[in-house]
Amino acid sequence: MIRRTAQTLASLFLCFAAGLVHAQSRYNLQPPQTIIAREIYTLHTIILLICVVIFIVVFGAMFYALWRHRKSVGHKAEQFHENTTVEVIWTIIPFLILVFMAWPATKTVLAMKDTSNSDMTVKATGYQWKWRYDYLDEDISFYSTLSTPREQIDNIAPKGEHYLLEVDNPLVVPVGKKVRILTTANDVIHSWSVPAFGVKQDAIPGFVRDTWFKVDNPGTYRGQCSELCGKDHGFMPIVVEALPEAQYKEWVAQQTAKKSQATASAAAEAGKTYSMQELMAQGEKVYSKTCVACHQANGQGLPPTFPALAGGKIATGPIAGHIDIVTNGSKKNPVMVAWKNQLSDLEIAGVITYERNSFGNKLGDMVQPKDIAAARK
């Protein structure tokens, strides 16, 4: 009987919630796009309404007393206190309400945690401050970095529609498929979150966690890193593009083709000797995308965590040390990661050359891709 009443009540709330779901409200959760997000949305609506009802009852009584039992209208205080019956009632009723709330919540928890029978798996790795996606069933992997221009953040240029919520390479998934996301991190804890999917999962260095979603409709969905991860925590969004299955297949084919092209050109780069000009141009491109966040545009860094390159010990020291720290990372200061995992030989060679010949550093030496290949451990 209780169960039936509960179900009726729940479905009533559901109808109410369904009315709200499609409208993008500024006062509520984002419109849900997955079954889990819908369940969360409904759950939140139910619990909020229960809270509002209790609130009105309790504070209705309080404000009634404050109004009617004022001293200024001559109300005399009664001296009653302690009443076991009342006290038992106001202990048991809240308990029953909580049981009523816990029941649907438990079902949703179990559904959220069930990552079995997924159609595909993508590993999302948090970096300071970007995401990397590896499609475990395809040969696709790429980095996903904020694409909002610096001028917009510094209030020099007008801000675009998706200010801070746009990336160069979004995660692309098919609609209607159960996508399992594995999360991990390379440096500190990050959190992979897309509110419209009802997904938020910490990405923890050294451990793998998982979560899942199945998107209802094609579209672009946006989220942000949700665990403080250092300086640019606010600048590593998550963008997911959900495509109809056929278009998704096309995208996969494109990516695979691009990948084999890239492998071919990397092989060509490996043996080639580049001129200073070519290396500097390559280096500037990489620096402004990869290094600038910590070492700053003027090479002054933010010491002590992010040391200066202008006149820096390594950037003006022996070339082997410079190659080693960029390629293999720093043991002493783990913020400086091993860039060999993220950059090609040519890119690393370019950026080292650039660093040794910019910001007032005038060493005049050059690094070639083959030097980097040799330094890879």
Binding site: H69, E78, V109, K200, G206
Partner: protein, 526 residues
Amino acid sequence: MEAAYGHAQDTAHAHHPTGIMRWIMTTNHKDIGTLYLWFAFIMFLTGGVMALTIRAELFQPGLQIVQPEMFNQLITMHGLIMVFGAIMPAFVGFANWQVPLMIGAPDMAFPRMNNWSFWLLPVAAILLVGSFLAPGGATAAGWTLYAPLSIQMGPGMDMAIFAIHILGASSIMGAINIITTILNMRAPGMTLMKMPLFVWTWLITAYLLIAVMPVLAGAVTMTLTDRHFDTHFFNAAGGGDPVMFQHIFWFFGHPEVYIMILPGFGIVSQIIPTFARKPLFGYSSMVYATASIAILSFIVWAHHMFVVGMPAAGQLFFMYATMLIAVPTGVKVFNWVATIWKGSISFETPMLFALGFIFLFTMGGFTGLVCAITPIDIQIQDTYYVVAHFHYVLVAGALFAIFGGIYYWLPKWTGHMYDEKLGQIHFWLSFIFFNVAFFVQHFLGLAGMPRRIPDYALQFADFNKVSSIGAFGFGLSQLLFLYIVVKCIRGGAKAADKPWEGADGLEWTLSSPPPYHSFETPPVVR
């Protein structure tokens, strides 16, 4: 026993330093209480300036006032300073002033240790605030100091760790002092179940402090050795686990939030019966509810960690345990409302703050319940919804209780009535601006704005602007509070021994202000 009281009297009258040495050398619970309260207020302003800088940066999208690395330092230090520098010392200040007066004791049990536990605080505060000057600035890992981000920080982090060690030592000494005083120095006839509720809540809080401050000290020490001695407690590559830091931290952290609210419950439970002119509805159920909340606080810590990827069984356990806390908390709120019911109510400033406390703290309780539901929490964890939630319980909760308590006992402490009209204006300004600042943050959180970000997407702009305006209003209103308190100390209408008609308790049997040494012969409680 009598001999001991006699002895205290002799030495006390022979030794009475003046000037600055009075405050440095003091072992008097009233002086030390005053020191604690002024220290807390200074730290409250310090943390407040940081909060306003944060809100100024968030006034509109884009970076204007501070850069991200400075922003992260500010949010971290705002949290640490408000928790350890403002709220906790303020409540210890109340305990120092009020516990001996309310139980009829001549002083705290260990007066010299009392002096030492206070004077550790400025040392810790200098280390903490001074860490802004360290190379790389203050720690920017958030007040929760999560590893491995805390491992990356500069020497500011080490200064914060030492500050936390010192603050912890101070808290533990303070707690030992309070427990010993309450258990051993009550006036004849005052059984435990006759103690004022404020004393009860502090007794339970002191046990919580002793239980969890060493846990925090352990966590930050492990961070320290990870930073400098390669111990890898929190580094997976060395066999450690970053999530273990969170488990240890929140095993401290959840009881800690009750450390910051239980004495507030106590203060409100003194104020409400006074101005309703009616005894507290359920004294013993209030005591049991406080104890249940304290016990439950040890088994709910991982509700701060629903997104780290616990197994379903873990999530369910912590969800159920957390929801259970709503029961004793509800009992407290119902009790306060039942106390008001059919009273003879007047609305002096302490009562306004107590009523504001009940109203807003309950809202914070409801959003706490929403956060307790694991699936919903996964949506709002680390968003502004959580920021709104804990400011409702810590500002409208703990801080409003502190304000209420100050206005309630200020006539007793200073011997003067405060300016009632200004007090009421202070309440209404605080109440309105608080809600302007924090209510809209619920909407920001629901819409998905993460916390701890220096810049945000355009759809969050309007509410952030409103919130910043509210924050500045709230911050500036506190200068009025300073003015009211200073004005009251310096003069004003003479306060009667019992300035509040409905007040009850031993402190009101003393003169206003009470003699420097009170209850030298213990009163007898019937």
